[in-house]
């Protein structure tokens, strides 16, 4: 019978033959069989599960460490086998690479076969049409010739590809339709391969960095300006596009109703951007879901916080520090912590601060914020003097104070505009006010466009593959005394509920001399 009816996969699983060449051929055939694809898909699904249950390095490294500390026996073993970075682990890669090798091995021969079919005529009518699963026989008053003519008109009106012939069994016509089904299926599977290429390309040549920019300050796209930066294997720092921008303003709004009180409602940053160092600057805004595209990179707003403005004067009263310092939010109400380091004072001064947008004191919680908006801001401080340890050669976090060589000299809470005279005439700290900062993620993913085009093709291919019906039909007409006997038969790929009625329709139409209009 024709290849339409014989399933690709119905061949029984034969044992491996002897001999190396035979064995490889056998192994390849196994790998590219439908059953293997099926099993690999199931394995891929199962292999994806642990990454959603265990904390993952890329998403939450802190929880990964916690997990390992809490599970001293299983933790290290799981880590060893990549369970905390499942989607980058070798065994996960092995599964999807096998799947894609299987896919390529499956697509290549099918594409060639399909290319041949596309150019071929519909196959010759089988001798005995009534043996096909769907067939019907009617008698007609018209001659065999006319019947086949009518059948041809019917098929052509419906854009079937047709072929006529004659043999001992009489005249026949073969018709075929639905080539888009296989085309769509191939497009779908090829698009999956291209999608994988796009993803891989993006991860090799893409990069991503995070930076906190205080309102009023600028950023230029060089490696040193980032707080965190990571690039694919094939990216170097010189590949960064040379844009720069200033965050001129940042606004944030929070829910004040009872339900979801304090939840973020609206963020917006205003930027002045220069595409290249000499270019004319332009103004734009950035928000959640509204990234800025600049020179192949995209700037996303991922977080925000407060930056108190502090002026520190030394013993003589001259200003040794005057700047806004980003504080990191610790909870949903933006209780924020940060550090001011004043290396230019003698002795050096370090301040650990707690910025509270809406300040409250509580016996249990201590000073904390009760609402994220700055309704009643306050800055709680502990001042230290001594050696900041900046010359020790160790890199220090700007958010941590190393107090090993320092002495605590006092604590104080200030409202905006207030000044604290440090004890023993060591100077003063003025809390001028505050501004906001925005945390930005700047990313470049050159594979994204490829991936988007690939999935678009995949979806359209899939629709064709699932909804186009591939059908073949034949009509034979044999002359009788009163006219002719008409036999029509059809064959479809997969299930086809309509085939039977189609066969009947064609038989009737052909027998009754159908013509258009």
């Amino acid at each position: 019978m024709s290849d339409l009816a014989s399933d690709l996969s119905t061949q029984p699983v034969a044992p491996p033959p002897l001999g190396t060449k035979g064995f490889f051929r056998w192994a390849w055939r196994q790998l590219t069989s439908m059953r293997t694809a099926l099993i690999l898909l199931v394995i891929l699904a199962i292999a994806s599960i642990p990454g959603s249950v265990l904390p993952q390095q890329g998403l939450d490294p802190v929880r990964v460490n916690e997990w390992i500390v809490n599970n001293p026996t299983s933790g290290p073993i799981l880590k060893r086998f990549g369970f905390f970075d499942v989607y980058a682990s070798p065994w996960f890669a092995a599964i999807y690479l096998l799947l894609f090798i299987s896919l390529i091995g499956c697509i290549l021969p099918r594409s060639f076969a399909h290319a041949r079919v596309l150019r071929a005529k519909p196959p010759v009518a089988p001798r005995n049409l009534t043996r096909l699963p769907r067939s019907t026989e009617v008698s007609s008053e018209q001659s065999a010739d006319m019947v086949i003519d009518s059948a041809e008109r019917v098929f052509r009106a419906k854009r079937w590809r047709v072929r006529r012939g004659e043999d001992e069994g009489g005249q026949w016509i073969a018709a075929e339709k639905g080539y888009w089904r296989e085309t769509g299926n191939l497009v779908f599977h090829i698009a999956l391969i291209i999608l994988l290429i796009g993803v891989g390309y993006g991860s090799l040549w893409g990069w991503k960095g995070n930076v906190i920019v205080v309102s009023g300050k600028g950023f230029s796209d060089t490696l040193t300006q980032y707080d965190v930066w990571g690039g694919g294997r094939l990216v170097s720092a010189t590949d960064l596009p040379p844009f720069s921008f200033t965050l001129t303003d940042f606004t944030a709004d929070f829910e004040r109703g009872e339900a979801q009180r304090g939840a973020a409602r609206f963020f917006e940053g205003k930027l002045t951007v220069r595409d290249t160092p000499g270019a004319v600057p332009y103004d734009t805004t950035i928000g959640v879901n509204e990234p800025l595209s600049v020179d192949g990179a995209k700037v996303f707003l991922v977080g925000h916080g407060y930056a108190p403005h502090v002026i520190v004067r030394d013993t003589t009263g001259s200003v040794v520090f005057d700047d806004t310092v980003p504080f990191l939010p610790q909870d949903g109400s933006f209780t924020s912590t940060g550090v001011v380091k004043v290396p230019d004072a003698t002795p050096q001064i370090g301040i650990q601060g707690l910025f509270l947008p809406t300040a409250a004191l509580d016996a249990v919680l201590g000073p904390h914020s009760t609402f994220p908006a700055p309704d009643d801001p306050a800055l709680f401080m502990s001042a230290w003097v001594g050696d900041l340890g900046l010359n020790s050669g160790k890199t220090q976090s700007v958010y941590r104070l190393d107090t090993t060589q320092m002495n605590l000299i006092g604590r104080k809470a200030l409202r905006p505009g207030e000044t604290w005279d440090l004890p023993e005439g060591l100077g003063s700290v003025e809390f001028v006010g505050f501004t906001r900062w925005a945390s930005l993620q700047i990313a470049h993913d050159p594979g994204q466009g490829i991936a988007l085009v690939a999935v678009t093709f995949a979806i359209f291919g899939l629709l064709l593959s699932l909804f186009v019906k591939r059908r073949r039909m034949w009509v034979r007409a044999r002359p009788t005394e009163t006219g002719s006997t008409v036999v029509a038969a059809g064959l479809a790929r997969g299930d086809d509920e309509r085939l039977e009625s189609l066969v009947n329709d064609v038989a009737t139409a052909a027998a009754s001399g159908w013509r258009k209009g």
Partner: protein, 322 residues
């Protein structure tokens, strides 16, 4: 928000009322099943055989007479059940729309709203499908699932949540969530049909060779299998689209289109399992029972994504705690 709770309260009230109607529909469907005495609830397609496309012949409409004459009682109850289900659907639609008007946005800001919208999706999928196929026998399953979902929504998940967090403010939300909700409805219906298929298949396998299979109120195993396939061929591309639109949205909100966040991971797992089902269906030895089980596992993955990830796993998509 408190000053203007009227519309939200009314919406909730209508949800409760629709639950009452669905309960009545459920009873009707139960009566209908109990009242079907014959073995030949053949469940023919009500659609005329789609002819006339080629040739000018009359459509060969299948006579429904064996149903009409033999099972009047069960049929009437099923019809009552269907009418009640339409009514409940309309009411729930009103409730969801009102909720949206009250909140001034799409009503998908939290788990409560997701749940009532999904219940609407399941009812909608069932009703629309019932226009093309005889699937009233599935009514008992659909009403049970919807009632459970709504019960969970009003009892456990109810919130007076107000606005959306900024990440959810995107027209991709509209597209992504509508696609996902429609898929949810279709997957749920398909799972019901698959369970029926497995029951029928078991019955067949228990029948000694050559004997007539025992009487059944469900369509034949063959029909059910095909029905399941039809629904999943509709749902699979739509799910693909839902995942892709989610990725596009994630790209604009978080700066990456795919990050293996638990929700994304389970959407992927669901997709892969349904793809495996489609392959199983064309693989010798897997078609039928094994493929059916795979599609049920796909539905399980969908449920885990829907409930499990929102409620128990930490990630960008958790709406819990509102």
């Amino acid at each position: 928000m408190t000053e203007d709770m009227g519309l939200a309260q009314l919406s909730l009230l209508i949800v409760y009322l629709s639950m009452a109607i669905i309960t009545m529909a459920m009873v009707s469907f139960a009566i209908s099943l109990a009242g079907t005495r014959t073995s030949k609830l053949a469940a023919r397609d009500r659609v005329p055989a789609l002819v006339g496309s080629v040739g000018e012949t009359e459509p060969a409409t299948a006579p429904d007479s064996e149903l009409v004459s033999e099972v009047p009682k069960g049929r009437r109850a099923a019809n009552v059940g269907m009418s009640l289900t339409w009514l409940a659907f309309a009411m729930l639609l009103v409730a969801v729309v009102m909720r949206g008007i009250w909140a001034g946005r799409v009503p998908w800001g939290n788990m409560y709203e997701f749940s009532i919208t999904s219940a609407l999706g399941v009812l909608g999928a069932f009703l629309i499908f019932s226009l093309f196929r005889e699937i009233r026998w599935l009514g008992i399953y659909v009403t049970t699932v919807v009632l459970l979902t709504l019960g969970l929504a009003v009892k456990v998940l109810y919130t007076e949540a107000a606005q959306l967090v900024p990440a959810l403010k995107s027209y991709w939300l509209l597209i992504h969530v509508s696609a996902a909700v429609i898929c949810g409805g279709a997957f749920t219906i398909a799972a019901g049909i698959t369970i029926a298929y497995l029951i029928q298949d078991r019955r067949l396998r228990r029948t000694p060779e050559g004997a007539e299979p025992p009487a059944s109120r469900l369509p034949s195993a063959e029909r059910l299998e095909l029905l399941n396939y039809k629904i999943l061929t509709f749902a699979f591309p739509l799910w693909t689209f839902a995942v892709v639109s989610g990725a596009i949205w994630a790209e604009s909100a978080w700066g990456r289109y795919w990050g293996w966040d638990p929700k994304e991971t389970w959407a992927f797992i669901t997709w892969v399992i349904y793809a495996a089902y489609l392959h199983a269906r064309t693989t010798a030895g897997w078609r039928g029972r094994r493929a059916a089980w795979i599609s049920l596992v796909g539905f399980l993955a969908f449920l885990i994504n829907y409930f499990g990830v929102n409620l128990f796993v930490q990630g960008l998509h958790s709406y819990k705690g509102f």
